[in-house]
């Protein structure tokens, strides 16, 4: 039966090709879009899971780089029950690095570039963080410290108490690549990096693998204040690490109550927000792709209906030769299911090729589209199911043919 069904598709190549193309497009779209959201989700998840604590910043600031708070708040926050460590930090968009004005360069590139180059200009905006020591060294979390490359890979060391007031920085391997030495080699530990026209010595290299974090230069807080012209009584934000048994949401509410004019954001909150956004995005994708699938299914239904009408005599002959209605139904449904399987295989092949090509471009943004086996399997199952469902009505129509139809059509 399956061999006969395959023959019926092979002997009508153009019709089969058109039906397959109709269903392949939504399959490629589904695999591509879902692998993108999967990639974004793991990128965000990786990033946020590294920061288990709370960020305290000015009430109306959208992000730490736009926040200013009195450094003295550290005592108030420390008094809140459940707080283990309060680590003051300053955040700013970095001044020109190696003589390159980042914002001006980003704006100029955005105006003059095309496609991914335009996008890359903003993705390359470097942040500068000044960490107060030794508080940051006592944190159990700490995205940069725990992502330092091992010594054998030239990771160097993290900031120490002895770095207070000294021009020492820890940078990401991405920044080291993006701002190479004069001979084109990436910066390494011991090399100098010009930040805001001042020379800094690189003491450590980190790599979190996260688009969000790997754009940060880390230095000691007094060095950062001096470089950025920030008053020593001022910070951007406080990173608060809770006691192990403390409920993070309760601590967040307690700090908001105890300290005036601040907002407290937990990384879990970000995670939930990101999860919600991705959930909505997935729903949107399902609806959009559902429509595309519907169109593909209608294409298959149309193909099979035409085929059933054209083969009236053929089905009548089969019925006259002892094929039951159920046999005819099975044959046409098998043809539809094979169209779905073929679409799934072609779509998967195209999606794998497209995603591999995209990943080779996106690698510089640390973003990777993820095509998982369950996603491919589920998608192919959906393709077969949609095609089979779409073929049901034509199959039913075909099964209604009577042996007499063959004889009447033959006579006409």
């Amino acid at each position: 039966m399956w061999r006969f069904a395959s023959l019926n598709l092979i002997t009508r190549p153009l019709r089969t090709l058109l039906a397959v193309v109709g269903l392949t497009i939504p399959i490629v779209a589904i695999l591509g879009l879902f692998s993108l959201t999967q990639g974004i989700r793991s990128l965000m998840g990786n990033t946020l899971s590294r920061m288990a604590g709370l960020i305290v910043m000015r009430a109306d600031a959208p992000a730490p780089v736009f926040s200013e708070l009195p450094a003295g708040l550290v005592d108030e926050i420390q008094k809140v029950p459940g707080v283990r460590i309060v680590a003051p930090e300053v955040w700013r968009i970095a001044p020109p690095i190696e003589g390159r004005n980042l914002l001006a360069r980003a704006a100029a590139k955005a105006l003059t570039s095309r496609g991914d180059e335009r996008f890359s200009s903003f993705a390359e905006t470097i942040m500068l963080e000044g960490e107060q020591l030794p508080e940051h060294l006592l944190l159990r979390g700490g995205a940069f410290r725990h992502s330092l490359l091992p010594p054998q890979r030239g990771g160097g060391r993290y900031l120490l108490d002895t770095d207070v007031g000294r021009p020492h920085v820890v940078i990401s391997t991405k920044i080291a690549r993006d701002y190479p030495n004069a001979d084109g080699t990436p910066k390494k530990v011991g090399d100098r990096l010009l930040i805001g026209g001042k020379p800094f010595q690189i003491v450590g290299l980190y790599q979190t693998g996260s688009l969000m974090i790997d754009e940060t230069i880390v230095m000691e807080i007094t060095t950062a204040r001096e470089l950025l012209g920030i008053d020593r009584k001022q910070v951007s934000a406080f990173y608060v690490e809770p006691d192990p048994q403390t409920d993070i949401d309760a601590l967040e509410r307690a700090i908001t109550r105890a300290v005036a004019n601040v907002q407290v954001r937990s990384m879990s909150q970000f995670n939930v927000q990101v999860g919600n956004i991705m959930g909505h995005l997935d729903l949107f994708l399902v609806l959009t792709v559902g429509l595309a699938l519907l169109v593909g299914g209608v294409g298959i239904a149309n193909t099979m209906l035409m085929s059933a009408v054209e083969r009236t005599v053929e089905f009548g002959v089969m019925r006259a030769n002892g094929w039951t209605r159920r046999n005819i139904l099975g044959l046409v449904t098998a043809e539809s299911a094979l169209l779905g399987l073929l679409s799934g295989l072609v779509g998967t092949g195209l999606a794998i090729a497209a995603i591999a090509a995209l990943n080779s471009i996106l690698v510089r943004y640390e973003l990777r589209l993820e095509l998982t086996v369950p996603l491919v399997a589920a998608r192919n199952a959906v393709a077969i199911a949609v095609a089979s469902l779409a073929g049901l009505y034509p199959a039913w129509r075909a099964s209604r043919m009577t042996p007499m139809d063959a004889i009447r059509n033959e006579a006409s």
């Binding site: 002959v317 089969m318 030769n321 002892g322 042996p403 006579a411």
Partner: protein
């Protein structure tokens, strides 16, 4: 109507027995009788020609003998099986095993080889190498 299943055991000399078969068609308010009480027997191993003018009911009789249609009344017994008592699926299975059709235009299935066209009735039940060998031999 009697039991549709054929009797087991030895073959009867009469292979087709048609008894008082009537077939009427409704055309609007009018009922047209295509067959009026046809009865005859065909002995095993013999051939039969049905001859008559156009509209005399030859095709209608053939449809009934081929288990493609049911008579208004009367019985048809083929090889011991009362085909007028069969439901649709029983009729399908009976045709698969006992009836062969040669259409005026042949109506071969173009996607199938000559052997597979011979084997068409058995495609749904699965084709064995023995089936194929028998079909090739018949060709």
């Amino acid at each position: 109507m009697g039991d549709p299943s054929p009797p087991s055991g030895r073959e009867e000399p009469v292979v087709i027995r048609v008894s008082d078969v009537r077939k009427a068609f409704r055309s609007g308010a009018e009922e047209v009788e295509a067959l009026r009480g046809v009865s005859f027997e065909v002995q095993r191993g013999t051939g039969l020609f049905i001859v008559g003018p156009s509209g005399s009911g030859k095709s209608t009789l053939l449809y009934l003998l081929g288990a493609l249609d049911n008579p208004t009344s009367g019985t048809i017994v083929i090889d011991g099986a009362n085909i007028t008592a069969m439901d649709e699926v029983q009729g399908d299975v009976f045709r698969r095993g006992k009836i062969g059709f040669v259409f005026q235009q042949f109506n071969l299935i173009p996607n199938l080889s000559a052997v597979d066209n011979v084997l068409l009735p058995y495609i749904p039940t699965g084709l064995t190498p023995e089936c194929r060998a028998k079909a090739a031999e018949l060709l």
